[in-house]
Amino acid sequence: MTPRILLADDHTLVLEMLVNFLSRDFTVVGTVANGEALLEAAMRLQPDIVVLEHALPGTDGLTVVRMLKTRLPNTRCVFVTRHADLHHVRDAFAAGARGYVLKDATPEELVAAMLRISRGETYISPRLGLEPGWAPPSAVTREGSGELTARQMEVLRLVADGFTGKQIASTLNISLKTVESHKACISRQLGLRSTAALTRYAVEHGLLRPRPETARHA
């Protein structure tokens, strides 16, 4: 019997593509475009696999995964997503997801991933560069939780606000070396390599706002 899957994405165009890719090896039991419709359809259809994206209108993807984990323990949730950051991956597995496929994947990779998940395995897109043996659910404990300490959060805000290392050191009354070490920890924790990437993370997570007010002359 082919596995029954339910697809959720807020982009109808993408849903149509997923149906095209998956309908040969799976039975697509439904397609939905928001979190509430996904919960309702999942409870009604009890699919083997739910495919979803993080940013669903209404109830977001992570919340849906958490709810389905207790309500439908036999249904496996898989993110097929454009979010390629480690903190999104960690959040997904912490919520109970069984797979994480980037929208950067080829259609062949998507099908292969879904087949593995239907056999009870977990799957993470290799492009995320996670070292082999990274055990997703258990790694979401202390060290790799993606949670920043209050001090790290302070440093991140200042970095994204455009403060130099020296300025951060004097603002927080710590040494430049300590600032650099905080920054390195934050980068590792979030899986982000550059100051630009840290800044984008801070803006995207509402730690501060983009600055439309700068340089309006011209």
């Binding site: 807020d10 982009h11 109808t12 165009l13 993408v14 849903l15 149509e16 593509m17 997923l18 149906v19 095209n20 890719f21 309908s23 697509v28 439904g30 397609t31 939905v32 475009a33 928001n34 509430e36 419709a37 359809a41 209108p57 097929v80 454009r82 980037l102 929208k103 950067d104 994947a105 080829t106 259609p107 998507l110 970095v159 994204a160 606000d161 455009g162 403060f163 130099t164 390599r193 550059s194 100051t195 630009a196 990437a197 840290l198 800044t199 984008r200 803006v203 995207e204 501060l208 983009p210 600055r211 439309p212 700068t214 340089a215 309006r216 002359h217 011209a218």
Partner: protein, 240 residues
């Protein structure tokens, strides 16, 4: 509207014209630029039956090269793309492939982006929350010399095309910078080093540093973090 269930085999709406008659050899030639492989291949799969997909590319710079080489009838492009965003690419395509009709296929439903797209030379604009029937309709319309916007709440085609001057706000491209400076700013905000940027643009590292310094002086910004936030606020790189 957004919670409807689409059928498994998406059919075209009864009143939607087919994009082109499927006469062999004369099918419209289409180039696709989209950074996500699944979406890129998905577009190809949706359209290959009736259109000639001459190539697919995954960033704005590759788009410029492929368009110049292939001179396609239609170019489908995203707004958020690595190396060179779709809006800046569109402006350069006016020279690189002047007869190609541009159709943006994007997640951005913000009216500011729609206006920017048409100002940059677009003939069509389709949001990814639309069904594929809107995409085929868009392609048919632009090939017939008309313009097309898929249904977007609060956006009317006539209003966009009337070109009323809009105050520059968030999501608008910054007119304070030259195209070259915007290219460099995007690459800086993507976290690339001066050395990497030099390779991408085929210029010297020193020239990159010079441009970066001019941008900072012009915008009165001092750090890479500030440049990144400026790029996000002005639609030069995507802000999620």
């Amino acid at each position: 509207m957004s919670n409807e269930t689409i059928p498994q085999s998406p059919g075209r709406e009864a009143n939607t014209p087919a994009p082109t008659p499927p006469t062999a050899g004369t099918r419209p030639r289409v180039l696709i630029a989209e950074d996500h492989t699944l979406v890129r291949e998905g577009l190809r799969m949706l359209l290959a039956g009736e259109l000639d997909i001459v190539d697919t590319v995954e960033d704005g710079r590759a788009l410029l090269g492929a368009a110049e080489r292939l001179q396609p009838d239609v170019i489908l492009l995203d707004i958020s793309m690595p190396l060179l965003n779709g809006l800046d690419a569109a402006r350069q395509l006016a020279k690189a492939s002047p007869t190609s009709k541009l159709v943006f296929v994007t997640m951005h439903a913000d009216p500011a982006y729609v206006r920017q797209a048409f100002r940059a030379g677009a003939s069509g604009y389709v949001v990814k929350s639309s069904a594929s029937s809107h995409l085929t309709e868009a392609i048919a319309e632009v090939l017939a010399g008309r313009r097309y916007i898929s249904p977007i709440p609060g956006v009317e085609l006539a209003e966009v095309l009337s070109g009323e001057p809009q105050e520059s706000g968030e999501g608008e491209l910054s007119d304070a910078l030259t195209p070259r400076q915007r290219e460099i700013l995007q690459l800086v905000a993507e976290g690339r080093t001066a050395r990497e940027i030099a390779v991408v643009l085929g210029i010297s590292r020193k020239t990159v540093e010079f441009h970066k310094a001019s941008i900072m002086r012009l915008l009165r910004l001092r750090t890479t973090a500030e440049l990144t936030r400026y790029a996000m606020a002005h639609g030069i790189i995507a802000s999620a």
